[in-house]
């Protein structure tokens, strides 16, 4: 009964989405207030229906209803409850439902928090999001229905892929999808503005918080995916430039560029058509990412058995959404105008540099990800593009980005003087170089790559400190104290600083771990020891352990440092009963300055095991940096000016440009 209710809810949601995507849009064209007024209640109903369907699928998982084909393939009665819930998005059909769920959440949020928007604008935005929902609902109902029944009903389910039975997997997909789908808001705002022709600074101000929110979710989602790979795949790496990772990274790069260009559009009214294009690109890449990962084109843990109908539907959908929006852009963008002028040296030009670099980086990742697929599709042979390509392209592109990150915030809008900037930043530059050399020396080995990484880290910190000091230092005649001025800094400014500090922490972690990590694969008998970076690891043999749905061999590894016991690590080699697959469960002792990482390879003759022992300095800073970037986004979101209701429809900051548009 429950699956049928879910099915009905999805059908009703499709009906509501069809109404939502047509009537309000027509109302906006014809000026019919009653049609436009449908948009908000329709979005709310849509949310309730999709949420109900989602609950139905969750209930089927919790109740072990193996008559539902999707539950039978992705769950098992022995699976612990949290993983049964996470199993909802463990496969193709359910993750589409999760995607749709997130879309309906964003639509609800837009309908709740955008009451102050002019009615035609809100109607257009919700209608565009409704159109996307129609596409996804059709895809689900026609090709990948999560509520399909099985006959005869299997006795038990096929279990969730063991790799996905990890706490990281419970949170990674919802966060990632919140980010992906969040870009649909910026996309819908952009399309609505193109349709309505009201592309100005107000538009940018409305779009900014939504984009920042989506970007923060996406950052957290990617971070969780990276942590999952580190914990579960058992190789101790945190990023592999795997096509699946790239699929989530490309929208992030476009989204980062979008955040920065939106700042220019809001403050100065410039880059308008470029910003719109970026909004379209960011969401198109999210769609592409979702489908690349889900369609089975890429062979990975995320890909599922392919069905040609799905492939065709996906292609058609992508062509309609991406092609349609780009066509609309080509038609309407020339009317948008260029916006305010600026100098060669100005904050605008530096943000433009940021944008160009991020887009080039995104395109290079796109090329590396799609080229092998393209060659394969054309039957021109199988190739693969590995991490060396991405490293050699990506890292050099990020060096100027980081340099600009230091200079940009100090440069004035409209026009700045190079000698002046150089004078203000000379100490920051000196400090960065000296501190980097000192860190390299302290780390014990001076390497070019790591030193460059440290220079980037300290450059961000020092230039940020300079910026902060210039903003809060006691100025002549004004009696406010430094702390009072600190409190007066706008939240958006603080958010930017925290995010940029996050980049510094990230760069530091990456430089440290890539250069100074120690990895050792050793054959160990019970009682054998091995020393890695001053830590002595003693292997005390393995013992059997029974899990809820797996059997494991658990090793006991004592770690001592300088003769003193430090920690006992218990890595496992698990065999999951249903799918009979082996899984490596690494044991990690995390710390602020280093992780100790032990994972079991395979047993060899005489009770010995191949053991992988890693020393990973500062690796947690990589994720800590991501967390700070996302936190900065949240801080920026909480800036007061986004909550102040707009009484005047036009912002003066846009000046003549706004009028021209």
């Amino acid at each position: 009964m429950i699956p049928e209710l879910g099915q009905i809810a999805l059908l009703l949601a499709l009906a509501v989405a069809l109404i939502l995507s047509t009537l309000p849009l027509a109302g906006a064209v014809r000026g019919r207030a009653d049609w436009m007024a449908l948009a908000r209640p329709a979005a709310q109903t849509h949310f309730m229906l999709v949420a109900f369907a989602f609950l139905c699928l969750t209930a089927s998982f919790v109740r072990n209803d193996f008559s539902v084909a999707y539950v039978a393939t992705n769950s098992n009665s022995a699976l612990p409850l949290p993983y049964r819930v996470a199993g909802v998005w463990g496969g193709h059909e359910g993750s589409l439902l999760l995607w749709l769920m997130m879309l309906s959440v964003w639509m609800l949020a837009v309908s709740q928090f955008s009451k102050h928007l002019p009615r035609p604008v809100l109607a257009r935005i919700l209608a565009v999001m409704g159109l996307i929902s129609v596409g996804f609902l059709l895809f689900m109902l026609l090709t990948s229905n999560p509520f399909d029944r099985l006959d005869p009903v299997p006795v038990d389910g096929n279990d969730l892929n063991p790799l996905l039975q990890d706490p990281g997997m419970v949170f990674h997909p919802p966060m990632l999808y919140m980010g992906y789908v969040g870009f649909s808001v910026a996309f819908a705002f952009a399309i609505a503005a193109l349709l309505g022709g009201n592309l100005d600074a107000t538009w940018a101000r409305w779009t900014r918080p939504w984009t920042t929110a989506a970007w923060s979710f996406l950052t957290i989602g990617i971070m969780l995916g990276s942590m999952w790979a580190y914990y579960v795949l058992g190789w101790g790496g945190w990023w592999f430039w795997d096509p699946v990772e790239n699929a989530s990274f490309m929208p992030w790069l476009a989204g980062t560029a979008l955040i920065h260009s939106l700042a220019v559009t809001e403050k100065r009214g410039a880059f308008k058509s470029w910003t719109v294009l970026l909004a379209i690109v960011a969401f198109s890449l999210s769609l592409l990412g979702t489908f690349l990962v889900r369609s089975g084109v890429l062979s990975s843990v995320h890909a599922f058995a392919t069905d040609p109908r799905r492939g065709v539907f996906i292609l058609v959908f992508l062509v309609i959404v991406i092609g349609g929006s780009l066509a609309l852009y080509a038609w309407r963008a020339p009317k948008v105008g260029l916006g305010a002028r600026f100098n060669v040296v100005s904050r605008e030009s530096m943000l433009l540099g940021n944008n160009v670099l991020f887009v080039v980086a995104m395109l290079s990742v796109l090329l590396g990800t799609l080229y092998p697929l393209l060659l394969d599709a054309l039957g021109m042979g199988k190739i693969s593009v590995g991490p060396p390509y991405f490293d050699t392209v990506f890292v050099p592109l990020m060096v100027p980005v980081v340099f600009l990150m230091g200079v940009g915030p100090l440069a004035r809008w409209k026009g700045a003087e190079l000698p002046d900037l150089a004078r203000r930043l000379r100490w920051a530059a000196a400090v960065a170089v000296l501190a980097a050399l000192a860190t390299s020396w302290l780390a014990g080995r001076v390497s070019f790559g790591a030193t460059m990484g440290f220079v980037m880290t300290y450059w961000i910190i020092a230039s940020l400190a300079t910026d902060l000091w210039e903003r809060i230092r006691p100025a002549g005649g004004v009696s406010t104290s430094v702390f009072a001025r600190l409190r007066l800094l706008p939240r958006a400014m603080v958010g930017m600083m925290v995010s940029h500090l996050g980049v510094a922490a990230f760069a530091f972690g990456v430089s440290m771990v890539n250069t100074y990590q120690v990895e050792r694969d050793v054959k160990m008998n019970a009682g054998d020891t091995t020393e890695v970076a001053g830590h002595v690891f003693t292997f005390n043999g393995v013992q059997p352990v029974h899990g809820p749905n797996y059997e494991a061999q658990q090793a006991v590894v004592e770690v001592t440092r300088g003769g003193k016991p430090e920690v006992t690590l218990r890595p496992e080699k698990r065999i999951y009963r249903v799918q009979n697959n082996p899984m490596t469960e690494a044991a990690i002792d995390p710390g602020p300055t280093r992780d100790l990482y032990v994972s079991l390879g395979e047993p060899v003759e005489g009770g010995a095991w191949i053991v992988r022992v890693y020393f990973k300095p500062f690796i947690d800073w990589v994720w800590g940096g991501c967390l700070m970037m996302a936190l900065g986004g949240v801080l920026a979101l909480s800036d007061r000016r986004y909550r102040v209701k707009q009484t005047q429809p036009r912002e003066t900051a846009a000046g003549p440009a706004g009028a021209r548009a």
Partner: protein, 154 residues
């Protein structure tokens, strides 16, 4: 500076950035593409020596020999077999008789020295490269069988 000059400089800067980016990409692309070969192709010397490539096929049953951290095994596409040497830990789903993809180089002794052995993510899944190799080998085998039959008929 006139506004026109400023704009020219700006456009020049953007073009230069894109140009440098493209140059980096193409250069890196040239040197980092990894091609795929099947054991039959390696035997017939189609695979390059001294350059990294991927080798795919099945792990020959009974061929896996461990010696401490290093492993030796044979990769077959049912027509030809290539010996492989690897140092380190094999992925969880590495099994005799199952599909495998190894990345590395062929040494002077004809042994493929793998730097990486790729994991597949579930039991039923076959790496596309390995599947390709088997398909080719099957076709080759059939052709050979046909020729034999034809020659016998003569």
């Amino acid at each position: 500076m006139k506004p026109r000059h400023k704009r020219l400089i700006l456009i020049g800067g953007v073009v230069a950035a894109v140009g440098v980016g493209t140059a980096l990409v193409l250069n890196a692309f040239q040197s980092n593409l990894v091609f795929f070969y099947s054991p039959s192709q390696v035997v017939s010397k189609e695979a390059p020596t001294g350059r990294t490539f991927r080798l795919g096929g099945l792990v020959q049953s009974g061929s896996v020999q461990r010696d401490g951290v290093s492993v030796r095994f044979q990769v077959t596409d049912t027509a030809q077999t290539i010996p492989v040497r690897y140092e380190g830990i094999l992925p969880d789903l590495f099994k005799e008789g199952k599909g495998v993809v190894a990345q590395g180089q062929v040494g002077a002794d004809g042994v493929f020295v793998a730097r990486e052995v790729l994991a597949k993510h579930d039991e039923n899944y076959m790496p596309p490269e390995a599947a390709e190799a088997l398909k080719h080998a099957n076709a080759a085998n059939r052709k050979m069988a046909n020729t034999v039959v034809k020659e016998a008929a003569k």
